[in-house]
Each structure stands twice: as structure tokens, then as C-alpha cells.
């Protein structure tokens, strides 16, 4: 039975993705964490801080894009942990001694992470609607939202695959997930950046999360987008390419050790 390399690459990626999918439902802790944490943050902001924050719209409408990004970012960062687990355990070694492209292992984690994220973000959207979120987006806007979120998730997924390949222990990989929990706070996710001190304002305005959130917000509730959409695609498109190349390079270097 000889089939093309391309066929086997797809087949292996598919097999590994199937494994990651099984993991999502057999280890529901990480799915629950990926959903529970952002929901808690959302509820906290809407009901506790939201009343005091002046955003020009209903606060729940303002905050949803930020919560979605926090959710997706955190969800992606969990990939680092599972990649490290495979490296520390023997699976990675065994795959490398077999006649297949071991990079299918990475493909599996990226796809699995994407599906987990898709589930988590859907749940968050639903919870948001339950607590009063009323988006004005039409079909085209929703397609845009899905496209942008997919770009965001895939670029982060590959970034965290790279991080998972570098880290030597599961604990370190765990620590690598924390920045993703905090980065959205220093953006326009929860409060308008103008309310921050000047130096922080400058950082918040120019970090990649802000144009992404502004674009999502514009698509969801019709606030002006300006050139944020292009900035977002530029930022996360580059991140996707860089992370992907980085992962492949680190992966190949592992072989020579």
C-alpha cells in the first residue's frame, strides 16, 4: 500500500486531531476552565465594575469582545501544557522513531485547541446574550467575526505549540499561560484606553489586542472600526507565520540534541 506523502500527512494530522478531540471531553477540567474563567470575569465586570465604567454604550455590549479574546487566548495557552506533556512523556520520542511526520503531533494539538476554543467561545456568546448582550451584527459581520477569531486562535495556537516545545516541564508550561490572562486587561477590552495613565495608554493602544478588540466591537455593535481591521490582520497574520516557522524550526532542532 503506497500512498503519497501528502495523503499520509493529512491522515496523520487527522488521527492526532481525533486524539486531541477525545482529550477535550475526557479531561473536561480544561474545557471547564476555558469557559468558567472568562464567564466569571464577564459576570464580575458587568455586574460589579460595569456600572462605574463610562463607555458610551451598555457596558455588557462593550465588554463582550474583550471577554471572548480572554477566553480564546487562555484556551490557546493551554496547548503549551499538553504539548509539553507529550514531550516529557514518551509519545513524542516514539513518534519520532516511526516512519511518519512527527509534526502531525503539532497539527493535532492546534486543531484540538481550535475546536476547544470554538466550543468555549460559543458558550461565552450564549452566556453574554443571557445577561443582556445585544449584538447588531448581520450575516457578513458574523462571518468577519468568525474569520478574525479563527486567525487569532490559530496564530496563538501555533505560538503556544512553540512555547510548549521549548519548555522542559509541565509547571513551566503552566506559567506560560498567565500572560494571556493579563494582556487583555492592558487593552481596550474592559475599559477605554483613554482612562489609563499616558505611558500605559500608549502601550495599550499599540498592542495587538486593542485593534482586534476594536474591530470585533465594531463588527458586533457597530462602533467605528477605522484601520483597526487591517492592523489586526497584519498583527495576527504575522504572528501566525512567525509562530508556525518558529515551531517547525524548534521541532527540527530537537532532533539533533
Amino acid at each position: 500500500m503506497r500512498k503519497s506523502k501528502f495523503y499520509w500527512a493529512l491522515s496523520d494530522g487527522w488521527t492526532m486531531s481525533g486524539r486531541s478531540l477525545k482529550h477535550i471531553f475526557r479531561e473536561p477540567e480544561s474545557l471547564l476552565m476555558a469557559i468558567g474563567l472568562p464567564v466569571a470575569i464577564m459576570v464580575m465586570f458587568v455586574y460589579i465594575f460595569g456600572g462605574a465604567i463610562e463607555t458610551g454604550t451598555e457596558y455588557v455590549n462593550y465588554v463582550v469582545p474583550g471577554v471572548i479574546i480572554t477566553c480564546a487566548g487562555f484556551g490557546s495557552s493551554l496547548i503549551a501544557i499538553s504539548v509539553t506533556q507529550d514531550m516529557v512523556g514518551g509519545l513524542f520520542e516514539r513518534l519520532r522513531s516511526m516512519p511518519l511526520l512527527p509534526s502531525s503531533l503539532m497539527v493535532g494539538h492546534v486543531t484540538g485547541g481550535f475546536i476547544r476554543n470554538a466550543i468555549a467561545t460559543t458558550v461565552i456568546f450564549l452566556v453574554a446574550i443571557l445577561i443582556g448582550f445585544r449584538p447588531s451584527a448581520g450575516l457578513l459581520e458574523w462571518l468577519g467575526i468568525i474569520g478574525l477569531l479563527a486567525l487569532f486562535m490559530f496564530s496563538l495556537n501555533w505560538l503556544f505549540v512553540a512555547i510548549g516545545l521549548i519548555t522542559k516541564s509541565v509547571e513551566t508550561a503552566n506559567a506560560a499561560t498567565f500572560p494571556m490572562l493579563f494582556l487583555p486587561y492592558v487593552s481596550s477590552a474592559f475599559v477605554p484606553t483613554e482612562t489609563m495613565p499616558t505611558w500605559l495608554h500608549a502601550f495599550a493602544d499599540n498592542q495587538p489586542m486593542t485593534p482586534l478588540i476594536e474591530t470585533l466591537r465594531g463588527l458586533l455593535i457597530g462602533t467605528p472600526i477605522g484601520n483597526n481591521a487591517w492592523l489586526t490582520i497584519l498583527w495576527f497574520g504575522s504572528l501566525l507565520i512567525i509562530s508556525f516557522i518558529l515551531s517547525v524550526v524548534i521541532f527540527k532542532r530537537k532532533k539533533k540534541e
Binding site: D12, R19, R26, G89, E93, S97, L100
Partner: protein
């Protein structure tokens, strides 16, 4: 004419200034069980990793079935399987799912995957646990599943890196039986171990390595013969009698345990020995016969080599 399937010539590998392999040479005969015996850090795992194409040696040649493990690694991978020190099974999947997944990754047809999975579950006595998650398996079951996975693609050479480390004595015995069964089917088995008893039980040929160098090679019998014959061990309760006996007899004396070891020799020499003691009114508290174990061989070889090294240094 010997038919060797693995051939290693002057293999060297270092990490920075730390030399792990320092010119290793050996041959493994097709269909045999070969044991690489050494302490932790002797270079066992590094050797296996080079042979299994995971890492590259700094210099030297390693071939499997005639293929170079570095330049022709794709062909080598078709012939081998590796079971590492840590069971590389997926805890969240069931035993059966693990086999099916790895079967697919081995690019077997779906019929073959199904057939091999059922066969291997049966052969490794895992049929009852097939639908249970590996998380619930015992250490011995995990190891069995791990080895079952490595057999999916019917490899010619199986690398087992410390296959019984961390197993309880009964699981270890079972693993030994299993390895012997595999060898009967004509597969070549390359195992590493730090247990001399294991090498003694299983291996057709044993290579003792220390600090990345081969220190001795041979069958278990050959290695034991180097250490010499069966010994009689005489132990004494009385310190004075022990002193007296150690002056009379020519043997290895252990002051702490008040014990004297003497080559057993013939029944005649044994009778003389006991008579001599009797004539002097000395009664040993116990008399034991002891066959040399591989432990003796190992201790003897490694300490001798180290002494030589320190003399040269």
C-alpha cells in the same frame, strides 16, 4: 558465519565537555536478545537513542540491517520500534484506542489495524482491559500495552530501554517471559538494563558498558567464568578462631563479617580444608556454597577498569 543485524563502530557522542559515548563497538546477531548492561549514566539510553534515529552521533557508524541510522534513517525506521523508559501510552485513551491510533500512525491499513489490535490485546492479556482508560492500568499493564504498541508494525528489531525498571517482582517475571516469547518469534531484541539478573535471565549476549565504553562482552556464562569458580564461604562466630582460620587458609577474608571465601575445588580439597580446621579445633558457624553472580562480574570489571584508569591518569 555470523549474521549481524546491528553493527556499531567507534560511536562517539558528547554534550559539551561531557563525554557520553567514548568509542563504542559491538555487533548484534539477528534474532538474538542483546543486553546493554550498565549503571545509570553509563550511556545506555544515548546508545539506544542513536540506534533508534532520534539523535545523531558525533562520529562513528551505526547500521541496522545494513542501513545507516543517520543517512538512511527513513529505512531504519521501517525496521525498528522503540519502547522508552517512560511508557508512552496515552492515559486518557483506552488500551484499544491507543493501539488503533498508533496503528494508523504506522500507516497500516484499517483492516490490519483491527486485526493486529485484537491479536496484540490477546497476546498481552489486555483483552479484558481493552475498553478501560489507561489511567486505570497498573504499571505492568502499561508496560505491556507499550510493548504491544511497539509490535504493531511487526518490526525486525525491538529496542527496550529498561523494560522492567519500576515494576514489582511479579510483573518483572511476566515481562521476562514476554520478552523470551518475542525472541522465539525471530525478532531481534536490544534491551538495556541495570539489573544483572535480568541480563543473565534473558540475554544471549551481554555487553557491559561504563562511562560510554565497552568494558566486557560475552555470554552470561563467559562473564561468570572470568570471575572464576564456585566458592565456599566459611563464617565464624568466634573472633579468635576467625583470626586463626584466616592465617591457616588462603582465601578472601572479610573482617567485618568474619567470613572467608575459598575456591571450592574438588571434594578432596574440600575435605582437606575442613580437616585442617578440625585439627586446630576450629568450628565455623556456617558453610555456604556460592556461585558467582553477574553482580560479582560487574563489580569486579568496573572497579578494575577504574583502577586502571586512575593508574594511567
Amino acid at each position: 558465519m555470523k549474521d549481524s543485524i546491528i553493527s556499531v563502530q567507534n560511536l562517539k557522542k558528547s554534550y559539551g565537555k561531557h563525554t557520553v559515548l567514548d568509542g563504542l563497538n559491538f555487533e548484534v546477531e539477528r534474532g538474538s536478545i542483546f543486553a546493554l548492561l550498565g549503571e545509570n549514566g553509563a550511556g545506555k539510553t544515548t546508545t539506544v537513542r542513536i540506534l533508534a534515529t532520534l539523535i545523531q552521533a558525533d562520529s562513528g557508524i551505526a547500521t541496522i540491517a545494513g542501513y545507516d541510522t543517520h543517512r538512511e534513517s527513513e529505512s531504519v525506521k521501517q525496521k525498528i520500534s522503540l519502547t522508552g523508559q517512560y511508557a508512552s501510552v496515552d492515559e486518557l485513551l483506552t488500551g484499544e484506542e491507543n493501539l488503533v491510533m498508533m496503528g494508523r500512525l504506522n500507516h497500516l491499513s484499517s483492516n490490519t489495524v483491527k486485526k493486529r489490535t485484537a491479536e496484540l490485546l490477546d497476546q498481552f492479556e489486555l483483552t479484558n482491559a481493552a475498553k478501560k482508560r489507561v489511567k486505570t492500568y497498573s504499571g505492568g499493564m502499561r508496560r505491556r500495552l507499550d510493548i504491544a504498541i511497539s509490535l504493531l508494525a511487526s518490526p525486525q528489531v525491538i529496542f527496550l530501554d529498561e523494560p522492567t525498571t519500576g515494576l514489582d517482582p511479579r510483573s518483572r517475571r511476566n515481562m521476562w517471559n514476554l520478552i523470551q516469547q518475542l525472541a522465539k518469534n525471530g525478532v531481534t531484541i536490544f534491551l538495556t538494563t541495570q539489573y544483572l539478573e535480568e541480563a543473565d535471565q534473558l540475554a544471549d549476549k551481554i555487553a557491559v558498558i561504563d562511562s560510554g565504553k565497552m568494558v566486557e562482552e560475552g555470554t552470561a556464562e563467559e562473564l561468570k567464568r572470568m570471575i572464576g569458580d564456585e566458592k565456599v564461604e566459611l563464617t565464624f562466630d568466634n573472633a579468635k578462631e576467625f583470626q586463626q582460620a584466616s592465617e591457616l587458609l588462603q582465601g578472601q577474608v572479610s573482617e567485618v563479617e568474619q567470613r572467608i571465601s575459598i575456591p571450592a575445588g574438588s571434594p578432596e580439597s574440600l575435605r582437606k580444608l575442613l580437616n585442617t580446621l578440625h585439627e586446630h579445633g576450629i568450628e565455623p558457624s556456617s558453610v555456604n556454597f556460592r556461585k558467582p553472580t553477574l553482580d560479582d562480574v560487574f563489580m569486579d570489571i568496573t572497579s578494575r577498569k577504574r583502577k586502571e584508569q586512575s593508574v594511567h591518569a
